[in-house]
């Protein structure tokens, strides 16, 4: 974006955005307050800009981005659903937004009730006994579950269980969490129907397996047809089953992982429960467990005793904290508002419309982009651009061309076991008109692949920037602004 300077590059010496008032209290030497060692010796070189410079800079940048508030965002495996504004109204309530974590519990009973309500509802929705809202992200929730499973095996003097099984279709977070938990990973094959291969699973089970991490619906957007048998087999081998809740949008209000035999699961509030997505957080990776894992939950546990909400920190078997305080609390407020707005009966409409929308898209464009596995899909469909590949057009080109039609591209080249994968998750938020417009664009692109493939190879044409050189960017990683006028000084 050579035509779009960084805020640093807009800097003009001595330009100011505001003039602070003259100090009307006695001053103290800063060095005497924090120690001279902590003072910087050179100016920080912050951008010197006016308020108007700042407003224009960030307003213009915001107009170059694309999010769910701009248009359709069918990013498979990410559940980019609409975040209702009522959530924001609730979270902005000063009684929540201004609460301080140091406040005595008696003075924040309303906030503790929100957490307690939500952990109770999440346990009920998922079919588990108890839940915690502490993990600040999905990956943190995965790690917490693995640490609790490890603690559970150790508590039974079953220390040799260090292998974690993951399907070959799994999201990369699963093996990464397992490695972070100090375990080794073994991959289980997917069968010709897009489900876990039971024979291959059996061949991996044994006294060294701690757990299997499984997403249901799985990462191909298909329901694990043999989930009861899978959980039975794993339990018979002495291992635990973790459910990756990334795809809970397909099940909420309809089916419960706890009833399927899972021992624990995580939920991404930013997916299923409509808290804001992206920007690196803050998130909430709620974790729900069966009672045998309850002693290992992170401390403190929020409990209700005699009409009062209390923080139980007397948790001798807890695996410890996974975040400061009580997690990212205002995410809980948003999710609380969302669940209350739907109500117990309304929640199931989320899954019904999410599944209907995905199947509608699959049915409308499958003659050009066939499904990787020919089944009724759940909340997302995984299609392949194998027909277009024969014409020299790749999934990547199709995704870039979609930008020209005003849509965010779907996930591509994932899951890894599907060649030229296009993974489309419409979510329940979208109307038939939006889905039709997207399908029309996909069919038009399929036609363009036959008649004018060069249009696809050089896409996007209507975006602020054209085709970016991703290989160059990965090889020349340079994300830090350096003053061009001065040579870089490197401190030892």
């Amino acid at each position: 974006m050579a035509d779009f300077p960084l805020i640093f590059e807009r800097s003009v010496p001595n330009r100011r955005g505001c003039v602070p008032p003259v100090c009307d209290v006695p001053t103290k030497d800063v060095a005497s307050l924090i120690g001279a060692d902590n003072l910087r010796t050179e100016p920080a070189e912050l951008p010197e800009v006016s308020e108007l410079d700042v407003v224009r800079h960030f307003t213009n940048l915001s107009q170059r981005t694309y999010g769910i508030d701009n248009g359709f965002y069918p990013l498979g495996s990410c559940t980019m659903k609409y975040n209702p504004r009522v959530n924001e109204a609730a979270a902005a309530n000063p009684a929540f937004a201004s609460a301080h974590p140091f406040q005595p519990p008696k003075t924040v009973q309303g906030s503790l009730r929100v957490i307690h309500d939500l952990q109770t509802w999440m346990a009920e929705i998922t079919g588990f006994d108890v839940a915690t809202m502490q993990p600040p992200a999905g990956a943190s929730g995965e790690l917490l579950c693995l640490l609790m499973i490890r603690a559970y095996h150790l508590s039974r003097n079953d220390a040799q269980r260090t292998v974690i099984l993951v399907p070959d279709s799994a999201h990369g977070t699963n093996p990464a969490s397992a490695a972070r938990a100090g375990c080794t990973v073994q991959s289980v094959k997917t069968n010709e129907r897009g489900s876990t291969d039971l024979q291959d699973l059996k061949s991996h089970l044994g006294p060294h397996v701690a757990a299997m991490m499984l997403t249901n619906p799985n990462t191909i957007g298909l329901f694990e047809e043999n989930i009861l048998e899978i959980c039975d087999l794993i339990h018979q081998a002495g291992a635990q089953v973790f459910c990756d809740g990334a795809n809970m949008n397909a099940l909420v209000g309809i089916a419960r992982p706890g009833d399927m035999g899972f021992d624990c699961m995580h939920l991404n509030l930013h997916k299923t429960f409509s808290t804001p997505h992206g920007g690196g957080g803050p998130g909430c990776g709620c974790v729900a467990v069966k009672s045998h894992l309850e002693p290992f939950l992170p401390s403190p546990v929020i409990q209700k005793t005699g009409g009062e909400y209390v923080l139980d920190e007397d948790r001798p078997r807890s695996v410890g904290r996974v975040h400061t305080w009580y997690g990212n609390f205002l995410m809980n407020v948003r999710a609380w508002a969302y669940v209350r707005a739907y109500g117990a009966e309304g929640l199931s409409s989320i899954a019904k419309y999410a599944v209907l929308n995905a199947n509608y898209v699959q049915a409308r464009i499958r003659h050009e982009f066939p499904p990787a596995y020919d089944r009724v899909c759940m909340h997302e469909c995984v299609l392949t651009a194998s027909n277009q590949k024969k014409l020299g057009v790749r999934a990547f080109d199709i995704s870039k061309r979609l930008i020209d039609y005003g849509f965010h591209p779907p996930t591509n080249y994932f899951p890894l076991i599907v060649p030229e994968a296009l993974m489309i998750e419409p979510t329940e938020s979208e109307s038939k008109q939006t889905l039709d417009a997207f399908c029309d664009a996909m069919l038009k692109i399929a036609e363009e692949a036959r008649t004018s493939p060069e249009l696809l190879h050089s896409a996007p044409h209507n975006a602020p920037v054209g085709r970016l050189d991703e290989a160059w960017a990965a090889k020349n990683l340079d994300v830090r602004w350096k003053p061009s006028s001065k040579p870089q000084t490197v401190k030892a």
Partner: protein, 124 residues
């Protein structure tokens, strides 16, 4: 897809060319084409002893990170140092300048694919 007839292959898309008891190995034209632009290879130091089929490094492209599997059992005697700054050689010349490692065989490798077998494998 280019499958030279002067070497052997694996189902995991590596090739090897034997000279005496040293195998030069790399990834196939099909593999580089599926991976897309390769941006980085994480490779071990020479001296590492490998079993046939064991993972000895990773190849990172703009799409994904994939394991590299040794097509033969033995000890790594040389790594292609040119790849450190020019990983694109694996894309542009996978069977030549884009070779990845040389491995001194400890025993005879098993179950390798002939060029015809490999061609059949990738046209499935």
């Amino acid at each position: 897809m280019n499958v030279p007839t002067d070497r052997l292959y694996t189902p995991t898309h590596e090739w090897l060319k034997l000279e005496g008891d040293v195998a030069t190995i790399g990834i196939t034209d099909y593999a580089q084409s599926e991976l897309g632009d390769i941006v980085y290879l994480d490779l071990p130091e020479p001296g590492r002893v490998l079993q046939q089929g064991s993972s000895f490094g990773t190849v990172e492209s703009v799409k994904t990170v994939s394991d590299l599997y040794s097509p033969v059992p033995g000890e790594i005697v040389e790594i292609n140092s040119a790849l450190e700054g020019q990983s694109e050689l694996v894309n542009s010349d996978p069977y030549g300048q884009g070779w990845i490692a040389k491995i001194k065989l400890s025993e005879k490798p098993e179950n390798l694919l002939t060029p015809d077998d490999y061609k059949a494998e990738i046209s499935k």
